[in-house]
């Protein structure tokens, strides 16, 4: 398939490389030209703009920062809609609000472009190993049409519903992981401050009902005190903000997510924003009067 790819960061680069490996021809674009180099070395073609990429492919994938970035690249000057050929499918794999996603999808539809929202979970390792979880919202036949692309990047691939449904699933994912990381950090800090070996606690808990992917992976990194990102805590802060803005709009009570969100605020405010979200452990250590 002729595929365009915009957003070659920590996640986007390995995802794009996996598409090339699966035999697709790639046209890429990035605001910073040097970000394209690793892809050009692997055989991708450089586009001149998002519009230029859109004009030369059947499907264009974006994975960028936040809603304003998606809006700019999709609908702004020299954006995807400016270059789109009729029938173009735009897959946005960024994490943004369901509400904004629906609005962008509507505007793209008016200009002949079908949009799918397809945010991912699994982090950088999932992107590298093509084992991402991909949650998709939008037209079902467009989903079938681009499924081979998803299969080149991920393992668990689900069509959840209409436009925005993928982002709703991702928001749910962020509630569970955001709260989960906090819970694991709290437990391991509790163990250690009680004079008990946190590694041993994690190990035994993995045999019972507290076992989880987060306790396993994130808890493991906390025990090793490996705070290298991964998934930076400011990103999780951003995602929690999306969740709580939706709750505000819909009149939903999310007390646990709201509490966790305040902890991410504290991380960013106290200089832990660039570290992995497992640095939540450091926050708890400070709050309980000690450090690592």
């Amino acid at each position: 398939m002729n595929v365009g790819f915009i957003g070659l960061g920590l996640m986007g680069r390995p995802m794009a490389l996996n598409l090339i490996r699966a035999g697709h021809s790639l046209r890429v674009w990035a605001r910073r030209a040097e970000a394209m180099q690793p892809l050009l070395d692997a055989g991708a073609v450089a586009g001149a703009s998002a519009a230029d990429v859109a004009a030369n492919v059947d499907v264009v994938i974006t994975i960028v920062g936040d809603a304003p970035d998606v809006e700019r690249v999709a609908l702004g000057p020299d954006g995807i809609a400016d270059g789109a050929r009729p029938g173009l499918i735009h897959i946005d794999m960024s994490t943004i609000s369901p509400e904004v996603t629906q609005s962008i999808a509507q505007q793209l539809r008016d200009r002949g472009v079908t949009m799918l929202d397809a945010p991912v979970s699994g982090g950088e390792p999932g992107a590298i190993n093509a084992t991402l979880t991909i949650m998709v919202g939008g037209d079902a036949s467009a989903f079938e049409c681009v499924k081979p692309l998803f299969e080149a990047m991920g393992k668990t691939i689900s069509h959840i519903g209409g436009n925005g449904a993928g982002q709703v699933a991702k928001a749910c994912n962020q509630i569970v992981t955001g709260v989960g990381v906090a819970a694991v950090a709290e437990a391991l800090n509790f163990a250690r401050k009680s004079g008990v070996d946190a590694g041993a606690v994690r190990e035994v808990l993995m045999g019972g009902f507290a076992a989880s992917r987060i306790l396993d992976a994130h808890g493991g990194r906390m025990v090793q005190r490996n705070f290298k990102p991964g998934f930076k805590s400011w990103m999780h802060q951003k995602d929690m903000r999306i969740v709580l803005e939706e709750a505000h709009r819909l009149g939903l009570q999310l007390p646990t997510a709201a509490a966790a969100a305040q902890l991410y605020n504290a991380m960013v405010g106290s200089g832990l924003g660039e570290e992995d979200s497992v640095a939540m452990l450091k926050l708890f250590e400070r709050m309980s009067g000690g450090e690592g």
């Binding site: 802060q237 903000r241 709580l244 505000h248 009149g251 509490a259 504290a266």
Partner: protein, 292 residues
């Protein structure tokens, strides 16, 4: 002084009347001309646009709903900025985001116009009595010029700092007040669950360390189950959206405010947004399956 006034709602109208009673010459503008009628009957002059009003006044006061409304009135078509002479002052007494206030101050400064953000506390009762608390963000010279106007409308008048600082103080005010309201609601709910007389509990508490203005005024509404009067809860809900969004931007953890926000979300979902915020008591009752 020749003073303009925009926003003749439950707060604005009595405030404007106090200015006239203090001897100031009042000009008014409203989107719906009929809302200016009561003031015009008392001798105010109505103008066709904000720009026309600004051209006729040394100071224009606005007290309207949100940042977008203020921006529209100030910088939109036929807005205040188009009519102000150099040296004029825009005093905005609405509750908006501190960032928005700073932005408006900067834009006015380029044209040699002063900006004062001066949100108020005390509700309709204090607006009518002329006893509002007014918290201002302004340069010292501009504050000194408009101080006589504040003295006609309020009792506690404080210049908190430069533009935006008034809105920061107002955010603090909203946070403390609504969190106290939630605490008061929980206390009343606890008392009722024990089948203890709420009025007696309130009276007892007002004599001790838990005494507060909120316990006095909102506590009474809870005792009487009179949720109709006072401050519409939807406005506090809006304020908390702004407040918690700012907390994300600056990386500040606000754990109690975040929980109160969730209770306000639930209140909105129940359809009580136009009732007084003492309806937070009903949210607790709904959650525990009890009702009066």
């Amino acid at each position: 002084m020749r003073v303009g006034f925009i926003g003749l709602g439950v707060m604005g109208r009595p405030m404007a009347e106090h200015l006239m009673q203090a001897g100031h010459t009042l000009g008014v503008w409203a989107r719906r001309p009929e809302s200016t009628a009561p003031l015009v009957e008392q001798g105010a002059t109505a103008y066709a646009t904000p720009a026309a009003l600004a051209a006729a006044c040394e100071v224009v006061i606005t007290i309207i709903t949100n940042s977008q409304d203020v921006e529209g009135v100030a910088f939109g078509e036929h807005g205040l900025a188009a009519g102000f002479a150099r040296g004029a002052v825009h005093v905005d007494m609405s509750t908006i985001a501190p960032d928005a206030a700073r932005d408006f101050a900067r834009r006015y400064a380029e044209a040699g116009i002063d900006w004062v953000d001066a949100p108020v506390s005390g509700g309709e009762q204090a607006a009518v009595a002329g006893t509002l608390a007014i918290m201002a963000g302004a340069n010292e010279a501009a504050f000194a010029r408009v101080r006589p106007l504040f003295e006609a409308m309020g009792k506690t008048i404080v210049r908190v700092g430069e533009p935006g600082a008034g809105q920061v103080a107002k955010a603090c005010n909203q946070m403390v007040m609504v969190c106290a309201l939630q605490a008061c609601a929980e206390a009343m709910h606890l008392a009722r669950t024990h089948n203890v007389d709420l009025a007696a509990v309130r009276t007892a508490l007002l004599g001790g360390s838990a005494a507060s203005r909120v316990m006095e005024v909102m506590g009474e509404r809870m005792v009487k189950r009179d949720f109709s009067a006072g401050i519409q809860a939807r406005l506090h809900h809006k304020d908390f959206g702004i407040l918690l969004d700012e907390a994300v931007k600056i990386g500040a953890p606000l754990p109690i405010a975040a929980q109160t926000w969730q209770q306000l979300n639930a209140l909105m979902k129940q359809g009580w947004g136009y009732d007084d915020t003492s309806s937070l008591l009903k949210v607790l009752e709904a959650a525990s399956g009890s009702k009066a």
